[in-house]
């Protein structure tokens, strides 16, 4: 079971794609529209995609306006202040650490067991790292995957063999185990723990996670692009461009790359939820984000032991991450169908 997008995703995509297909041509294909435009028009009519986009936008809204949303909560009568994301409020928990209040107007989702921090604030702020890691890591691994795939596929020969070997090598590694192992190692290299504040350590950890996830997550796309480029470079239009002396760079970026927009967008859109899942999994396994950054994965890990007595702690982040990843995955599937309607049959 791999949580990284690189591993088996590409093989699965191949296996699930139909090859010989006798389906009639879709009626909405008209001449004069680019493939991207056709896909976009199809996507706009897809109701699942619409609902999923709304859910994703909701979470982006929560993440962006987290401070504002938190300030909408009323003043707490016990502490006499408004809740924020990091303040410890031990007045709100009993001697066993369990909260003495439930869902109130001052704490929409109650407070954390033990430290008594406001759970709505933790939840709203917790959407931030998930989304940032998802999008940044997907963008970075797309760039790396496309670059290496282009180089391997177009140059061929030794370069191709070296890159292909490297892809094979990376894919045979136990990715999750290595990511969990490598995060603290990379962190040690870039930050001396003793002299940094908790906030700085947390920021370093955040970027280390992105870097490690990206370095273990680009292979699927690289392999896909390599295969596509290998077949494209033999096509007449590429040979014609080369014959009239178009420089290699321009052949790559003007002739070949535009033909790969579809698979690249599809792969990137599937990578975002995969990275969000990977981050939450890492946080759950104890190699993810650290305090004081609010993270759904860590809240889930903290809350699991009191789930029976205090389910309110566990469920909001569980629903948050499930809904966000589900919406993104289904949107990714819709995007794939929009580029290649034959997959939905």
């Amino acid at each position: 079971m791999s949580t990284l997008p690189g591993a088996a995703a590409e093989i699965r995509a191949e296996a699930s794609e139909p090859r010989s297909d006798a389906a009639p041509a879709p009626s909405d294909v008209r001449t004069g529209r680019s493939p991207g435009r056709v896909a976009w028009d199809r996507l706009k009519k897809d109701k699942v995609a619409l609902v999923c986009s709304a859910i994703i936008l909701f979470f982006i809204f929560v993440a962006v306006f987290a401070p504002l949303l938190v300030s909408l909560q009323s003043v707490d009568p016990i502490t006499g202040t408004k809740a924020d994301v990091s303040t410890t409020q031990t007045d709100l928990v009993d001697v066993n650490g369990y909260p003495i209040i439930g869902m109130t107007s001052a704490h929409w989702l109650g407070v954390e067991k033990g430290l008594g921090r406001d759970l709505f604030a933790r939840w709203a702020y917790g959407a931030r790292p998930s989304l940032v890691i998802g999008f940044v890591a997907a963008a970075a691994s797309t760039v790396i995957g496309v670059t290496l795939g282009l180089l391997a596929g177009y140059l061929g020969g030794v370069v191709d063999r070296a890159i292909s070997w490297f892809i094979d090598f990376m894919l045979s590694l136990p990715l999750l185990l290595l990511v969990v192992a490598v995060v603290p190692i990379v962190e040690l290299r870039f930050g001396d723990r003793g002299s940094l504040s908790a906030g700085e350590t947390s920021t370093i950890r955040f970027w280390v996670i992105i870097a490690v996830l990206v370095s273990f997550g680009w292979m699927g796309l690289a392999r896909l692009v390599r295969g596509e480029v290998k077949s494209l470079r033999e096509r007449e239009f590429v040979q014609a461009a080369r014959a009239i002396g178009v420089p290699t760079r321009q052949v790559l970026f003007r002739e070949i790359l535009p033909n790969l927009v579809g698979p690249i967008i599809v792969s990137a859109s599937i990578a975002v939820p995969a990275y969000i899942t990977a981050e939450a999994t890492l946080s759950f396994l104890g190699a993810g984000l650290v305090e004081p950054t609010a993270s759904w994965g860590r809240t889930i890990a903290d809350a699991q032991n009191s789930f029976a007595r205090y389910p309110l702690w566990l469920w909001p982040p569980v629903l948050g991450i499930s809904l966000l990843v589900l919406a993104m995955s289904l949107l990714g599937d819709s995007i794939r169908d929009a580029f290649d309607p034959n997959t939905r049959r």
Binding site: M1, S16, D168, L177, P273, L326
Partner: protein
């Protein structure tokens, strides 16, 4: 054929060798300092740290450490641990810093638990995945088809660890419908009931993919000419689907099966952690928390070997089925 085989095996060997070198550099030449983690005192003096490093053999030149490790893989090594000699027979992956037992022993003694987990999961996802896939393909386009495909899509899109965790929390702890995992040392019969819950949930999660592959592959096969021929000869629909189409439709599914088995054998970290099954994944996670480098590195190596050999088997099997593969 022979050249293809040799080339493929040579490639696999280079990958294993590279994993060995890379993980050695990463863990032993990297900035991690197991001495710090192992020091019993609160604030460790430099002398004490050096003493621990010496006892671990980490103060010697890297090349010497590596060549010892490498030869140990083939001929075994002997370790001196506080006066005693611990024999580490080939393939020696070093000694655990914490338990002073050979890493190979630590890993292989836990391997049966992981294998039992994997086997059950494979049985569940093949049964569920292939049967729902075939069912969806035969009722293609109906409400039942849409429900099966949509359901598997939704179920397969939720982060697996969330499903595993919720299932474990609610069905083994809050409402003990399924027994919790025990230890394999109590005997297989006592151990197996504890695996029912992970078998079901991990099997169902993995099955979602197989529902879709099988359905797509089946739909494709059912539109082939030979299936039409079989139908026009008057062979019953059950025989056409079950015998003529299913066999052909399953060959792409089998490729993915090989890779998934490898992934399961090497990647049940989360399942083993959540359901507290004492397999290699849980051991590796424990080692990570304790900076027990030889165990982490040993697990990385062993799992890489599993993945590489599984890939090799799948490729070679495929080259028998489809001769075109050999030429590429």
């Amino acid at each position: 054929m022979l050249t293809y085989l040799l080339r493929r095996i040579a490639l696999a060997l280079t990958v294993v060798l590279a994993t060995l070198v890379a993980s050695f550099l990463l863990f032993f030449a990297g900035p991690s300092d197991p001495a710090q983690a192992m020091c019993p005192e609160q604030r460790c003096s430099t002398d004490r740290l050096n003493q621990i490093r010496e006892s671990l053999g980490m103060n010697r030149p890297l090349i010497a450490q590596f060549s010892e490790y490498f030869t140990g893989l083939f001929v075994g090594r002997d370790f001196q641990v506080s006066g005693d000699t611990v024999q580490c027979s080939a393939p020696c992956l070093g000694l655990s810093f914490l338990t002073n037992r050979p890493v190979s022993e630590e890993i292989f003694s836990r391997f049966p638990a992981t294998v039992l987990l994997t086997v059950g999961v494979v049985v569940v996802f093949l049964l569920v995945g292939v049967s729902t896939g075939v069912l969806a393909a035969t009722v293609r386009g109906t409400a039942a088809d849409r429900m099966l495909v949509g359901g598997s899509q939704i179920f397969g899109s939720i982060p697996p660890y969330i499903l595993l965790l919720l299932f474990a929390l609610y069905t083994t702890r809050l409402y003990p419908i399924f027994p919790q995992a025990g230890s394999l040392s109590d005997g297989v019969i006592q151990f197996l009931p504890g695996l029912i819950a992970p078998w079901i949930i991990l099997g169902l999660i993995t099955a979602t993919g197989y529902t879709r592959y099988t359905r797509n592959s089946m739909i494709e096969t059912l539109s082939m000419d030979y299936v039409r021929t079989a139908r026009s000869k008057g062979i019953s629909e059950r025989k056409v689907v079950g015998k003529h189409a299913l066999r052909a439709a399953l060959s792409p599914v089998l490729t993915i099966l090989g890779l998934d088995v490898a992934a399961l054998l090497s990647g049940t970290l989360i399942t083993e952690r959540i359901f507290e099954i004492d397999g290699i994944g849980r051991r590796a996670l424990a080692a990570l928390g304790q900076d027990d480098l030889p165990v982490i590195m040993g697990t990385v190596l062993v799992t890489a070997v599993i993945v590489v050999s599984m890939n090799l088997i799948v490729d070679i099997a495929y080259s028998f089925v489809d001769p075109r593969v050999r030429l590429s």
